[in-house]
């Protein structure tokens, strides 16, 4: 197990025949009558990056939230590290780091208090908090309530929160929004390709996302436009 932990590739040992970090098959999700996702099928190998592309309202955030176990699929299957969502959902959370549109931090608590809270929730050692704050370059502002920080600082802390428990899977919804170029580089080892984690990356910066990705998924009005290695035409078509 130590070995598995070190290489990351065998991280799925213990689950029978799991060679995909994420497996979606005919996934569907509605809000009331509106279909937000339908017939999404894709596989992602452990350690790889999936870029999710699509216009506003295509269902990208919805997909991430389904994968995170925050929304329940209405049809089809979704497996994360072999655990079916939502039935085996309780296996998922500790393995997932989620960085979304909202920072999911309390505005009236300081950075340190927020992260300490999350460390306790995840049963992670408190020394990780100091490390995480340092890793996002926020040591000097760690003891101010979040409402007094700039938007980009809050985004850094949200990233620190997402990786605090060292999750093997990262769900990233426009993670670079609000980050300055230096911060984006600083966070690369945490949430970038260099992190060695399996990643699902939603981004509107198409070029960059495709450059980072092993597999791309195109969504349009909830339907899968392409999955795999898209040609430029397909991508252009996606936003038309």
């Amino acid at each position: 197990m130590v070995y598995a932990h070190e290489t990351g590739h065998f991280a799925s040992i213990g689950f029978a025949a799991v060679d995909a970090a994420i497996e979606l098959d005919g996934l569907e999700r509605r809000y009331g009558e509106r279909v937000a996702l339908r017939g999404v099928s894709v596989r992602l190998a452990p350690g790889a990056t999936l870029a999710v592309l699509g216009p506003n309202g295509a269902g990208k955030t919805t997909l991430l939230r389904v994968l995170a176990g925050l929304l329940r699929p209405h049809a089809g299957t979704a497996r994360v590290f072999g655990a079916e969502i939502p039935d085996e959902r309780w296996k998922v959370p500790a393995q997932v780091g989620y960085l979304g549109h909202e920072p999911l931090l309390y505005r009236d608590l300081t950075a340190r208090e927020n992260l300490t809270y999350h460390a306790r929730l995840h049963g992670v050692d408190r020394s990780r908090v100091r490390e995480a704050i340092a890793a996002v370059g926020m040591e000097r502002r760690a003891d101010e309530p979040l409402r007094e920080l700039s938007r980009g600082m809050v985004q850094r802390l949200a990233a620190a929160r997402a990786v605090l428990h060292d999750p093997p899977l990262l769900l990233l919804d426009e993670p670079r929004a609000h980050l300055d170029p230096a911060a984006a580089e600083l966070l690369e080892p945490l949430i970038g390709r260099g992190s060695g984690r399996t990643r699902v990356l939603v981004s509107h910066d198409v070029e960059r996302a495709l450059g980072e990705a092993d597999v791309a998924l195109g969504l349009r009005a909830g339907r899968q436009a392409f999955a795999g290695n898209p040609d430029p035409d397909a991508v252009r078509e996606l936003y038309r």
Partner: protein, 232 residues
């Protein structure tokens, strides 16, 4: 699927109701000090008992829903509560009439049984806004079930509390195991209770059947619309 056995059940209900009616009017003796008004007892009390049992049953069906995640259990629970509320309103109405006749007031506030029953009915009235302010079917079923379970547990607790706080004017027949009811009254009462129970079950089945049918219809319509959309 819910219509199975509905017709014999309805038949039995009608027969028992008729029998109860006959017993009430022609067999049971006239009450010594209340006179004819006392006849309302045979509607009022069975209705109260059935309605309260229906609430508890709705809670049990809700447990089944949470266990099985089968939406039909949620439907059953919903309909059970729905009909119990209707009967509950009936209890309040008949009770009020009786109260006016025998106590001279439509309502007395310092009578725990009345107040506690009102509290139960009011609590269950919140079931509707709670249920229908949630759009997602699955979540609606889950939240409604949690409510139904908590409220179902609340009903007996509430009555325990109320019974402990001594009652003054409201009669306590069943708690004395009906011991002081004259035999004829007792028989009439039991038949009425059976009739009310059957009526409840029949209404429940009927409502489920019609709910099921209209849902089926909606589903077909949606399928059709989708097919048209695809064709277009």
């Amino acid at each position: 699927m819910y219509s199975k056995g509905l017709i014999p059940l309805a038949g039995a209900t009608v027969v028992t109701l008729a029998a109860a009616m006959a017993l009430v009017f022609f067999y049971a003796p006239l009450d010594a000090d209340q006179g004819f008004v006392q006849k309302i007892f045979y509607v009022h009390v069975p209705m109260a008992i059935v309605s309260l049992c229906g609430f508890v049953a709705g809670g049990i069906m809700a447990i089944k829903y949470l266990r099985s995640r089968d939406p039909s259990w949620d439907m059953r629970s919903y309909v059970a509560i729905h009909i119990s509320i209707i009967l509950g309103v009936g209890v309040l109405a008949t009770g009020a009439i009786w109260a006016k006749a025998s106590w001279g007031h439509w309502w007395v506030w310092d009578e725990p049984v009345l107040v506690s029953f009102l509290v139960v009915v009011l609590l269950y009235c919140v079931y509707y806004p709670l249920r229908f302010s949630i759009e997602d079917r699955e979540r609606q079923a889950r939240y409604s079930s949690v409510f139904a379970i908590a409220a179902g547990a609340f009903v007996p607790l509430n009555f325990a509390a109320v019974r402990m706080a001594e009652a003054y004017t409201h009669p306590r027949v069943l708690s004395q195991t009906g011991g002081n009811l004259p035999g004829e009254m007792r028989l009439t009462f039991l038949v009425s209770l059976l009739a009310m129970t059957l009526l409840y079950v029949t209404l429940w089945k009927l409502e489920l059947t019609s709910k099921h049918a209209s849902m089926q219809l909606k589903r077909l319509k949606r399928k059709l619309a989708e097919r048209e959309a695809v064709a277009a």
